[in-house]
């Protein structure tokens, strides 16, 4: 456990340093920039709230990825699944808001979001299970298709005729996810995401399904030999994984944007970052929770650095990418350094 802290700490520290160096090369003062980062993403109510807003879709997607990766289902299609969930839930939001009583409406919205993402992911799952199609490629390419579908929907059939941009009508205020922290944009979607953490923890470690998922992930042949229906387990895994990403899409629409827009996750930001979050959290729900908040802070901090110190916004995506690689490196190198250290110590005579 101590090793974990050391390698993570080292990796993150070096990431801070290298990013700082790059910031300096670009002519800005890294210390000033980092001051802005901390001040406006952690040290203020508004800032930390914003960090949590950013963390919400990351947390949901990453929880989905954590399950998938436990089964060695390399889902990189969160982006497309998120978009499909957003689309499905928006449809419900726009068309059924007035037709259903609130206590039916909201569960429907959540269900739609989940189903949208689950179906998209399940499609890739079917392709893998029935046709042996590599899920890395299928889920990735389906991202593009999913995003194009949403772009089309917001540009033509669902477009708000009065709007200047490609987006749908705004959802009725009664349909919006309520804000839960005054002074911030933090919405109930965060609560949903947090609730998923213990839920998934129980699912993965206490239920039969969780056992099956882990078995399939650790040794496919043994799992099969032990009588587990691997195909079914994989399909269920893909559905849950995609469903959570779909919920993330729903949360973004109903809690932040209040309408579906083309290109709303800013060019593949969220879902790919979620991969990093899942990995940093070691595919464990609690770890993912912590990692999501951490990365949410980094992203918000990146925005702060841009506003305050003129550092380009893209710094946070470099930052998170380098954190992943550096932590990976630290984890791989530390045992070797340890051995080297031991060997070079004088032996007792």
């Amino acid at each position: 456990m101590a090793n974990l802290f050391v390698s993570y700490g080292l990796g993150i520290l070096i990431a801070f340093v290298t990013t700082g160096i790059i910031i300096a090369i670009l002519g800005r003062n890294p210390m000033v920039a980092y001051a802005f980062l901390f001040e406006e993403s952690v040290a203020s109510v508004n800032g930390f709230g914003e960090s949590l807003v950013k963390a919400t879709p990351l947390l949901l997607c990453a929880l989905g990825l954590a399950i998938a990766y436990k089964a060695k289902w390399w889902n990189i299609g969160s982006e497309g699944q998120l978009h499909m969930g957003a689309m499905a839930s928006t449809w419900v939001g726009l068309n059924l808001a007035t037709l259903l009583p609130p206590y039916v409406f909201f569960p429907f919205v959540i269900l739609a979001g989940f189903v949208g993402g689950a179906a998209w992911s399940g499609l890739a799952g079917l392709m893998k299970v029935k046709l042996n199609a590599n899920e890395i490629i299928t889920t990735l390419l389906m991202n593009f298709v999913g995003v194009f579908i949403v772009n089309y929907a917001t540009r033509i059939p669902w477009r708000d005729p009065t709007a200047q941009e490609n987006w749908t009508r705004t959802l009725l205020e009664s349909a919006w996810l309520p804000r839960i922290w005054p002074g911030t944009r933090l919405h109930a979607g965060f609560v949903l995401a947090v609730l998923m953490v213990p839920l998934l923890y129980v699912l993965m470690s206490k239920t039969v399904l969780g056992y099956r998922v882990r078995a399939v992930g650790s040794n496919l042949a043994s799992a099969r030999y032990g009588g587990i229906n691997v195909s079914r387990t994989i399909l269920i895994t893909t559905a849950i994984s995609g469903g959570l990403a779909g919920l993330a899409g729903m949360a973004e629409i109903f809690g932040v944007q209040y309408r579906l827009l083309g290109g709303f996750t800013l060019n593949f930001g969220t879902a790919y970052t979620a991969i990093i979050v899942a990995w940093l959290g070691k595919n464990n729900p609690v770890g993912v929770f912590l990692a999501a908040i951490f990365i949410g802070v980094i992203i918000t901090g990146g925005e702060a650095m841009q506003r305050g110190a003129g550092v380009p916004l893209a710094v946070s995506s470099y930052f998170t990418g380098s954190i992943l690689v550096l932590v990976l490196l630290s984890e791989a190198l530390l045992p070797r350094v340890g051995k080297f250290w031991q060997r070079s110590l004088p032996t007792s005579s």
Binding site: I22, L26, W74, I76, M127, L131, N132, A133, N134, I136, I137, T138, L140, L141, M142, N143, F144, V145, F148, I149, N151, Y152, R155, I156, N267, F268, Y272, T273, I275, I276, W279, P312, L313, A314, V315, S316, S317, Y318, F319, T320, G321, S322, L324, V325, L328, L329, E331, A332, L333, R336
Partner: protein
């Protein structure tokens, strides 16, 4: 409709298809080498992005040749890092690849916005020009398609049989396959597993960097996300080429021609169909072919398995 399918249409379609296939082909050939030696390099998308950007910037300052060289170099550097982490450190190849991909994406996004920046009128440079081969370029039909292409395109096409002969007819090539199928056996016969894997991954990285550089140099402009999934498509191409360079060429061509077709269909069918469905076409076709081919896929047995001496 029939009046559109003229000679000129078909000729320019195929010529464009070859040109558009080249980035994917180069990257796929490189990845084919790496995977044959047992290493799955998922950072290709990041490497291509790096090559696209680095090559473009270098070309802005020092011309096309510099762009190509720098593109390859940036890919090579990524390849070294990937090789180090997966072969020496034996880190999980999937996570490492994805990590390097995201790192590359972030790094280039960061560098791009800090240097060239997103402007109303993007910075451009003169595109790579086609080079017509003297006699062959005048053959009807085949001439314009095959022999009036870019230098990089010629290189890519020639690389296919070169890699084919290397892999299947030379001792070193057979060693590569051996290392990918059964590194323990290869090692016991004196083959340096680590050196071969390093070499293949590094060459793979350099080729991907070249593929990326070609993308921006040929277009004359750099746009963020212009790689648009080609790195992943290259991996798909390796799979449905069944790890064979000649089949990979077919796969890359399929992608390139679909891309060329999609562009032309937009113009022809334009007002009838939403443009997004045309954009989707290459991706859907790639998924479709992948799905059809994957049933009898035959990856190298030791793919993704790090090799440790003494196990």
């Amino acid at each position: 409709m029939a009046e559109i399918i003229t000679d000129i249409f078909v000729i320019t379609l195929f010529a464009a298809g070859i040109r558009l296939a080249t980035p994917v082909l180069l990257t796929a050939l490189g990845e084919l080498l790496a995977e044959r030696s047992g290493v799955l390099n998922l950072s290709l998308e990041g490497i291509m992005t790096a090559g696209t950007f680095a090559g473009f910037v270098a070309a802005l300052y020092a011309g096309h040749s510099a762009g190509i060289a720098v593109g390859m170099l940036s890919g090579l550097l990524f390849g070294v890092l990937m090789a180090y982490m997966s072969v020496t450190l034996r880190a999980d190849q999937v996570v490492t690849g994805m990590g390097l991909w995201l790192l590359g994406l972030g790094l280039i996004g960061f560098l791009f916005r800090s240097t060239l920046g997103v402007q109303i009128v993007p910075v451009t440079l003169t595109e790579l020009q086609p080079v017509k081969i003297p006699f062959l370029g005048d053959i009807p039909i085949l001439g314009p398609i095959l022999f009036r292409q870019n230098m990089v395109v010629y290189f890519a096409i020639l690389l296919v049989p070169v890699i084919g002969i290397f892999l299947f007819k030379t001792a070193d090539g057979l060693k590569v396959t051996a290392v990918g199928e059964n590194p323990l056996a290869a090692d016991s016969l004196g083959v340096n597993v680590f050196r071969i894997r390093y070499a293949c991954v590094i060459v793979g990285g350099a080729l991907a960097g070249l593929g990326g550089a070609f993308l921006s140099l040929e277009a004359g402009v750099f746009r963020e996300y212009m790689v648009a999934g080609r790195g992943w498509i290259a991996i798909a191409v390796v799979i449905f080429g069944n790890w064979n360079p000649y089949r990979a060429l077919l796969g890359a061509l399929l992608f390139g021609i679909t891309e060329a077709l999609q562009l032309r269909l937009q113009v022809i069918l334009g007002y009838g169909f939403p443009v997004e469905f045309f954009y989707m076409l290459p991706y859907v076709v790639t998924i479709g072919i992948l799905v059809l081919i994957s049933r009898r896929a035959g990856p190298p047995a030791a793919l993704m398995v790090p090799y440790k001496r003494g196990e």
